[in-house]
């Protein structure tokens, strides 16, 4: 029998394994039983429907930010600004949710559209700077993150002030992505309609990247802008478009977070989901379906670590350490790749 596993998948799995081993070492180092630790970590994420629901709702936002980063990656851009785009997208969705008085379906659709557009607009700036002036998007998206942070900081109390200066009014049930039937199905968890939005985005992005003329152009511009230009493609437009789509996905993530997972927008917080999205994308090998799987995995870690912490005396930072280690191993995958190759070779030799 011949076992044929995609190399990328194998590298991902090995990275995860190494990350978990690093976590185990740290647990043992602090005098805890790693086996118990992991048991509680995974039980915390999956033990019952309520927890599965929470895992999925965390994953929802991660899928979208991961998709945002992965899409940018595939088109040759490094979007480190998903956090800012998510904030601004979330602000747009919240604004709609708080001010539009219309049937639920309309409010939700408009809010989602607003988040999509908002995130896209926020990414438009780095996109234009990159295309027109060759300003590296890593720096410009970092700047845009802080600009978003302060924009939200001053906009919320000025226009959407809730009980306190530090947060917006709460989104009403009608304008929330949470659906009663879904909430009930998952035993009162934070799962929301955003999940379907995220799944839809995964499929759409996969189709765009792999099957369409648009994807062909965007990837070409990303891989080699000079040959794309040579072939008559509008490279600058494509760079801007890639960045905008990436930002729009992060904007959607904002909608799922601020009017789905949460119901108010708090100021003074730069959501970490944007940075986690980098990890998700990387572990998912920048493929939309890979992102889906790795986001769910991260979702489990994120929602399980609290339970682990409650059951044992293992600090929850272990979860972040595991994720960081996984990313480091994924980044240095050459090492793993070499190991795989040499092992495969050995097997081949022995097989013959």
């Amino acid at each position: 029998m011949k076992l044929h596993i995609n190399k990328q998948v194998l590298i991902g799995l090995i990275s995860v394994l190494l990350g978990l081993i690093a976590g185990a070492i740290l647990m043992a180092f602090t005098g805890n039983n790693p086996f118990m630790g992991f048991t509680y970590l995974f039980r915390g994420g999956l033990m019952n429907v309520g927890r599965i629901g929470d895992t999925l709702s965390t994953a929802t936002t991660l899928i979208l930010t991961g998709l945002s980063v992965a899409f940018a990656f595939r088109t040759g851009l490094f979007n480190i600004g998903a956090s800012g785009q998510m904030l601004f997208g979330g602000l747009c969705a919240t604004a709609v949710g708080l001010s539009l008085d219309a049937p639920r379906a309309v409010v939700l659709l408009v809010a989602i559209a607003a988040a999509f557009v908002g995130g896209g607009l926020w990414a438009l700036v780095p996109g234009l700077l990159k295309a027109r002036f060759n300003v590296h998007e890593v720096v410009s998206t970092i700047m845009m993150n802080w600009i978003a942070y302060w924009t939200i900081y001053y906009t919320i109390p000025s226009f959407f002030k809730g009980a306190y200066d530090t947060e917006s009014r709460a989104i009403s049930k009608a304008a929330s992505l949470r659906a009663p039937w879904l909430t009930e199905l998952f035993n009162d968890s934070s799962i929301n309609l955003g999940l379907f939005l995220a799944l839809l985005a995964v499929v759409l992005i996969a189709v765009i990247l792999n099957r369409t003329v648009l994807g062909f152009e965007l990837k070409a511009a990303g891989y080699n802008r000079f040959s794309a230009e040579y072939a008559g493609m509008k490279v600058n437009r494509n760079i801007v478009l890639s960045m905008v789509i990436s930002g729009a996905l992060a904007g959607l993530a904002g909608a799922t977070f601020y009017i789905g997972y949460a119901n108010t927008m708090k100021i003074g917080v730069l959501p970490s989901y944007g940075f986690d999205g980098i990890a998700v994308a990387l572990l998912g090998a920048n493929s939309p379906y890979g992102v889906l799987v790795s986001a769910i995995f991260f979702g489990i870690l994120h929602s399980g670590k609290g339970f682990m912490n409650a059951m044992t005396s293992i600090p929850p930072e272990i979860g972040d350490t595991i994720i960081a280690t996984i990313i480091y191993f994924a980044a240095t995958s050459v090492l793993i790749e070499k190991a795989i190759d040499s092992i495969r070779k050995k097997f081949k030799k022995e097989g013959n």
Binding site: G44, M47, G50, D54, S57, Y153, A163, Y164, D165, T166, R169, A170, I171, S172, D188, S190, Y261, A262, N263, T264, K266, G268, V269, P271, S272, H302, S303, G306, F307, N309, A310, M311, S313, P315, P316
Partner: protein, 341 residues
């Protein structure tokens, strides 16, 4: 070590959990105070303790950690801060077997359409204005002549009440004790975060440069910057002070030997509140459904018992006024009125 709570006691001990607010456990404020109270209870009653830090500040984040505690057998759960109001509102129905204590807040639905505290929830409020009043009064008496400032963190009710009480305390000293302490409107500010240490330092520096002698910092991490700036100045011979908040911040202000820049602190006895509630659960007297007020009357607020930077005479004066607060002959307003900001 507070985390190692799982003691192997024979009888299934009460498990007391806490979910922290956005800051860390030793934030010199809410989290630290609450946790100290719980630890005190651990020492005295052998309860099992644990705190969890949520990943974010949303209702869902809080509920998740409360659920984690509950699923791990922690049936008494303390949550510090008004930010938990909506989460506790949901939690009281979701986990009716658990006892919840919310400090500085009262359970209500996210959109404020419904306020309801079930039999398993106790809300505790503090009279921060009284605390601020006492600290302001004490500092004014000690300094006698000069200027003071206030740096708040975010503009939330507890911080505002500290501010208003503080201003009244200073005014009271000026009026009744002949002190001459000025409060300039431009030196009464809310920095806007509880975390920006650098801004705290820089703001304090400006105020001290403008002649402010003492700053009341009710601002978490921003206050850390304020204290740092004061330390820097005192070490070079300047005479400046900080008034601490929430807990006795004297140790934080120590710059040399046991000399501190913290003249006194406007305390609220969060630790006592937490301790009392654990005790009440053990005694079977948990006042579920009630709202408790911790104020001067029940020694729930005040300045520290020992204030090395205050003269004995000053402490005596403060004690007198404290008694007046207790008997109601002096009343501190909890609203802005015509106070600054």
């Amino acid at each position: 070590n507070g985390q190692q709570g799982d003691s192997g006691a024979a009888a299934p001990a009460l498990k007391v959990g806490m979910v922290t607010d956005s800051g860390t456990i030793d934030d010199k404020s809410f989290n630290q105070g609450t946790w100290e109270g719980i630890l005190e209870a651990e020492k005295d009653f052998g309860v099992t303790t644990k705190y969890l830090k949520p990943v974010g500040e949303t209702e869902a984040d809080y509920l998740k950690e409360i659920g984690n505690l509950y699923d791990a057998g922690f049936t008494t759960i303390v949550t510090p801060g008004f930010k938990f109001e909506a989460a506790i509102f949901a939690a009281q129905d979701k986990w009716p077997e658990a006892n919840f204590v919310i400090l500085d807040g009262t359970p209500h639905s996210a959109d404020y359409s419904e306020f309801r505290a079930e039999k398993n929830v106790v809300s505790i409020f503090f009279s921060e204005h009284e605390s601020g009043f006492l600290a302001g009064y004490a500092a004014a008496l000690q300094i006698k002549e000069g200027e003071m400032g206030f740096i708040g963190g975010m503009e939330i009710p507890a911080v505002q009440k500290f501010n208003w009480g503080f201003q009244q305390g200073v005014a009271y000293a000026n009026k009744n004790n002949g002190t001459n302490i000025k409060l300039n409107a431009e030196n009464i500010i809310y920095q806007g975060t509880f975390t920006d240490v650098a801004a705290g330092q820089q703001l304090a520096a400006q105020m001290y440069d403008k002649g402010v002698d003492a700053i009341f910092a009710a601002a978490g991490g921003v206050g850390v910057g304020v204290i740092n700036e004061a330390k820097s100045r005192v070490k070079t011979g300047e005479k400046v002070w900080v008034i601490g908040v929430d807990v006795n911040q004297y140790p934080d202000g120590v710059y040399e030997g046991n000399k501190s820049v913290v003249i006194t602190s406007a305390m609220k006895r969060i630790d006592v509140a937490a301790y009392d509630m654990v005790k009440a659960v053990l005694d079977g007297t948990f006042p579920g459904g009630e709202t408790l007020i911790f104020d001067a009357k029940n020694n729930g607020v005040g300045i520290p018992a020992e204030n090395p930077n205050l003269d004995a005479s000053v402490e005596a004066e403060v004690a007198k006024v404290f008694a007046k607060l207790q008997d109601g002959s002096v009343v501190v307003a909890a609203e802005q009125g015509n106070l600054i900001k």
